[in-house]
């Protein structure tokens, strides 16, 4: 399983043709305690870079962009049930946002791998 990262601090992990998407540890730390999140309905399709979800802390509201194109096949029920804490506790694990059925695998090539993302964050 490969994990890729965007400049907007989303991660995407591929398992077959299903991509799990969330926000990175760095993004979660920058946000602080999440007080609200809005996920898309399953069945909706997004193009790479579209506004897909919203995550809000006391400080600010942030858009979460689709890191790859695809159709939503599942959303994190914990987040849907307003357990926002799960995002802060494990943004790159149990705090995932959605699963997408990937439309175009080659889109992943343009994203950063773990080492490149770590370098990118260091430079911020």
């Amino acid at each position: 399983m490969t994990t890729r990262y965007t400049k907007d601090h989303e991660w995407v992990r591929l398992d077959g043709d299903i991509a799990t998407v969330g926000i990175t540890q760095y993004a979660a730390e920058q946000l602080g305690d999440v007080v609200y999140a809005e996920l898309p309905e399953p069945g909706r399709s997004f193009k790479q870079g579209d506004d897909m979800a919203v995550v809000e802390s006391a400080k600010t509201a942030s858009d979460v962009y689709a890191p790859v194109s695809g159709e939503i096949v599942e959303v994190n029920a914990e987040i849907k049930n307003e357990n926002w804490q799960i995002i802060n506790d494990g943004p790159e694990a149990d705090g995932w946002f959605v699963k997408l059925k990937l439309a175009d695998k080659t889109e992943l090539d343009a994203l950063m791998d773990e080492a490149a993302y770590a370098d990118y964050v260091k430079g911020l």
Binding site: G32, D33, V35, Y36, E38, V54, E56, S57, A58, K59, A61, E82
Partner: protein, 385 residues
């Protein structure tokens, strides 16, 4: 890591940086925004005492020229009459040591800034006023005051000093232990000078809804004061982020957001800041509109709004009723005390009654919300007999 660029840094910059604060630009100053986190800092201030550095603000002294030869009430009456050219509050009526919240208004009855004006308690300072304006407006405000009173009074900026706010239910105990027991005896909205940490000017006031103090201290002794306060187990540093959620819960206006040059004090529900003598004299900038709205009611009013679900409605969100726009959110976010979203905004007067249900247009979707009395969280100011 931090690129200050042309930003001004606070005199206590190093002290805050050592506490791993997040910084950000506010009104041209590189300000501490956050320490351990907005929500814990907010909750700490409501339960104990938070220390805020608000040295970006505009403290100043407005005084009759040296050798004015007046004493007591005569001196105060003269300086107060000068500043009353710009503000609608009764400043002449201030007792020694009293502080008043007011606004600089324009000829159209809008608000150019909100500010605090204090009459010093000390007889030797008769003919002085202590005036604290907002960071983003200070150059404008001081220029306006000087232009309106040229040759009649002197304005001395004090924004090279530090202004520290100690806020919260423990503030009085901390202040008594660290600074002077007499601080605990002060009434809310009063001012006093103390010979401690150099020479400090203390108002019992703040902008969090809590009891507390704002302390003007020279930059050379500010570090000693800040460190002494931070050494107290009841005190933690708090950034501007939590200051915003605290003032929003307290229903207090943030200039440039909830108040602006087109908004009148009456629309802003601040009629209480215009005392009877001034209403009768009708002698302040914008009196015509302001008093018309005072007498007949404004077309729109500032209200509290609680979203019925969990989605915060932030500044700029449209307020709708039956598909028609009736207002706009001017401040909004998350209330740690209420553990839910809160907003403040302006709505047409017909919809301003608490309990009225409106829609908030959040990302294109109308979401029901309820007009709510302000403050969201009761004030806990200390007023003694």
């Amino acid at each position: 890591m931090t690129e200050a660029g042309s930003l001004k840094t606070l005199p206590l910059d190093a002290l805050w940086r050592a506490r791993t604060s997040k910084f950000g630009d506010f009104a041209g100053y590189d300000m501490p925004l956050q320490f351990e986190g907005l929500i814990p800092e907010h909750n700490w201030t409501r339960a104990h005492a938070g220390l805020f550095d608000v040295s970006h603000m505009g403290p100043s002294f407005f005084a009759l020229p040296k050798g004015h030869g007046l004493e007591g009430e005569a001196a105060h009456g003269k300086i107060a009459a000068l500043i009353e050219r710009l503000v609608p509050a009764d400043i002449q009526g201030l007792k020694p040591g009293q502080v008043r919240y007011t606004m600089i208004t324009n000829e159209e009855g809008g608000v150019l800034d909100d500010l605090m004006i204090a009459r010093p308690a000390e007889a030797g300072a008769a003919g002085d006023l202590y005036v604290v304006v907002n960071a983003g407006c200070k150059h404008q405000d001081w220029a306006l005051i000087e232009a309106a009173t040229t040759g009649e009074a002197d304005l001395v900026r004090a924004d090279d000093r530090c202004l520290l706010a100690l806020q919260g239910p423990s503030a009085h105990r901390v202040a008594a232990e660290v600074i002077d027991p007499a601080l605990a005896e002060m009434n809310f909205m009063t001012v006093k000078r103390f010979a401690a940490f150099g020479r400090i000017t203390v108002t019992r006031s703040g902008y969090t809804g809590e009891d507390g103090y704002e302390i003007l201290v020279r930059a050379e002794t500010a570090k000693d004061l800040a460190e002494a306060l931070l050494a107290h187990p009841e005190v933690k540093p708090v950034g501007l982020g939590a200051r915003d959620s605290l003032r929003l819960e307290a229903g207090l206006c943030l200039y440039g957001h909830d108040l602006d040059p087109a908004t009148s004090p009456i629309e802003a529900d601040l009629a209480w800041t215009i005392q009877k003598r001034r209403r009768e004299a009708r002698d302040f900038p914008g009196a015509k509109r302001i008093l018309r709205e005072y007498e007949l009611g404004p077309a729109r009013k500032r209200v509290g709004i609680r979203p019925n679900d969990r989605a915060p409605a932030r500044e700029g969100v449209e307020i709708m009723k039956d598909g028609k726009t009736i207002g706009i959110v001017t401040s909004g976010g998350f209330s740690p005390t209420l553990n839910g979203p809160i907003s403040m905004g302006y709505v047409e007067a017909a919809h301003a009654e608490p309990g009225h249900v409106v829609d908030l247009m959040i990302r294109g979707v109308p979401r029901p919300a309820t007009v709510t009395p302000l403050p969201f969280v009761p004030h806990r100011y200390v007023r003694k007999k």
